[in-house]
Symmetry: C2
Subunit: 123 residues, 2 copies
């Protein structure tokens, strides 16, 4: 199945979105080459390809906060993965000690009649 | 704010995950260059950079299914965006006529005592 994915668009890599299966929270985005995807699908725990270290990297292998795969989908272009997981260990995915890596709000102008976000919301 | 994002890791692009604000469903992943991100943040509707057409592309500009930005976060590396949106129009984000682009289940071996997914689940 994974051989049908399109690794060509990004020089052998595809983005993989990791979502908490129980809450729907998006926890992180990593990249996978074909071996990383195969290890993930065969081992049942999320393994990325580290672009900076140039090696496979099973998330949580040192911290214990491994990402156990519960379901996996690809998209209409077959060039991205979406992974629903259960976080093991203390449940903190980000190395900064938060559940999700997406903790920093980015401010933006609002469209239509949407009120502007408060200073607290865009902190 | 967007100038603090790291566009260097991927030759001027960052992945952007689009999530339905009300359901938490991940709808699609696209790529943004700096102008696409600026247009998104200033205009309040999600604009990607199309790698195949080599141009900015405001999602839904022809179909009417635009993605109205409700909140935006970046991650700990500042090299990915997560966007919560409300889908306008008929709410179908994928050109195949589904709400999400992630409709194709990818089968995998299960870790630990997790039962194997049924044929229906991995359809």
């Amino acid at each position: 199945m994974d051989t049908e994915l399109d690794f060509d668009k990004m020089a052998g890599l595809i983005p993989a979105v990791v979502q908490d299966s129980s809450t729907g929270e998006v926890l992180m985005v990593g990249f996978m080459n074909r071996p990383a995807l195969e290890r993930t699908l065969q081992g049942g725990y999320v393994t990325f390809y580290s672009r900076t270290r140039n090696q496979l990297w099973t998330k949580g292998e040192t911290s214990g906060n491994r990402l156990r795969l519960l379901s996996a989908q690809t998209d209409c272009d077959r060039d991205t993965m979406l992974l629903q997981v259960q976080v093991e260990g203390d449940g903190l995915v980000c190395h900064r000690g938060t559940r999700s890596c997406f903790t920093e709000a980015v401010p933006f102008a609002t469209a239509g009649a949407q009120p502007a976000p408060s200073a607290e919301e865009i902190r």
